[in-house]
Amino acid sequence: MTRIDTTFARLRAEGKKAFVAYIMAGDPDVETSLAVMQGMPGAGVDIIELGMPFTDPMADGPTVQLAGQRALEGGQTLAKTLDMVRAFREGDSETPIVMMGYYNPIYSRGVDVFLAEAKAAGIDGLIVVDLPPEEDDELCLPAQAAGLNFIRLATPTTDAKRLPKVLQNTSGFVYYVSITGITGAAAPQPADVAPDVARIKAATDLPVIVGFGITTPDAARGIAGIADGCVVGSAIVKEIGAGKPVAEVLAGIAALAAGAHAA
């Protein structure tokens, strides 16, 4: 059982949906993003998704792209991101942390070295956008062997024939990307997403979390209502990018969390 599994078990017992929130590590600097991260559990975040900046984020819209650029310009590295996680873990040993990003910085570090470091730092799971099931030998299988969840994205193009392959080596939860598009794109209607979520849930016992395009507490409630929870990213990153003080960013996160938890 990872912290992710424990969290979902607790939420299920409480009859609550999960609220997952994304920020970019080191955006705009380590101090600010660490302060936001430390405030997230208190604001109602059940699972923290921590972005690893990459120069070429092919699946991200302008908001997350710019966050990554700010972080990299501020000198963020994979090592500094893991330092952030260690600092966070000094005050919080329960909230699950999922690292999200692209494969090259991990590959460059070396898969085995990275997995050992990530596990030791207190990471619980990985979402690596450019590693489909066809490339499971690269990181997915070694990560599971190292005791980390490997969380896969399912998308509207993942048809019935392909779904079992996508679910096969997934653990922790399934992240359903509700639109064909990049992060920060327009939000889908809950009623349009519901059949897809039902289709995935029929094929797995893992929780299904829905993300992409959710920007308001109402939307968070709507989407969480038809799944096991929802993810908000760009809407939070946008506030950080606008230079809002940490307290204001956290107030926004709390409102989104309240939306999801009201579902």
Binding site: N104, E135, T180
Partner: protein
Amino acid sequence: MPDDLINSYMTGPDEQGRFGMFGGRFVSETLMPLILDLEARYEFAKTDPDFWAEMDWLWKHYVGRPSPLYYAERLTRHLGGAKIYMKRDELNHTGAHKINNVLGQIILARRMGKTRIIAETGAGQHGVATATVCAKFGLKCVVYMGAHDVERQAPNVFRMRLLGAEVVPVTSGRGTLKDAMNDALRDWVTNVRDTFYCIGTVAGPHPYPAMVRDFQSIIGKEVRWQLAEQEGEGRLPDTVIAAIGGGSNAMGLFYPFLDDPSVNIIGVEAGGKGVDDRMQHCASLTGGRPGVLHGNRTYLLQDPDGQILEGFSISAGLDYPGIGPEHAWLHDTKRAQYVSITDAEALEAFQLSCALEGIIPALEPSHALAHVMKIAPTLPADHIIVMNMCGRGDKDIFTVAKHLGFDMKI
């Protein structure tokens, strides 16, 4: 794979889309089903005589193939060594080799029922070729081009617009070719149902590197029979040389000779201001290390943390921090040799070709020619070099004028 275990260099990629450890399918789940579908459709088309009949007809009547294999007599005499042939792909419709591949992909797109074509472009040659073929077939065309390249390749931007394409200047990242490719991939992820991504080089996720290579291989296949025609039955080139951005014109020339051990194969990367730790070059093989970008594993210019670095070259078409995965494999197995040529050397070759052969080359093949200038004098007169003159220089005259201090304002 050690050399002696390889009995053919022409069987790749494997089922995972790998050439040795290189290549693969490193894309988001949204794109994965599309790529598998494309692979299936391509596998079918590859053995479908109707597909190749259509290609051959268009290659002949629309592109003007076969392109001549031209003995560069004055250049040969000037360099005083090896006998130099130029494969004249710069005479193709639209002025470069890019259209060889575009035709194949667009015919495939039409067979797949796609109505909207997207492409990335650096020098603008692939963008122009794509816009051209889309105009011919009445398809909607959107071309992503780095904002910096929009500026330095202005004539090609206008050409694409004349041809009815929408040119999107890309300002994300640093606004270069790799960012244009990122934005094209973002477009594709968003418009998966009606859109076909026409990649301009032997990079990207499987099956693109193999598919683009197969379409470009017409270059090397023609060289085989053309050289035999001029030099006698069975005569193969001793050395084949081509410039490398992503590596498509080079793969096109090299591929049909991979299993002829007597043929030396040399790829020429852009050395920019010199391949050293200032990193002002685009020589992925000589100055990079393996990594994963744009759907495949290959050699990349990157920092110690795996962040991708910008390339630097006078030639917009070579300005890419990666290289096709098959080249990475040919490099590691040592079947091919890779060298680099600086901006200054390429400019010198550019001028020599104009002066001695009356051929204004693109800056990309000028790199290949610059390496010919280095090695030809050291080789005997019966050594035959074939270099790929893969593009004409019309698009580059403004850049060259600037570097030579010539005022273009009339």
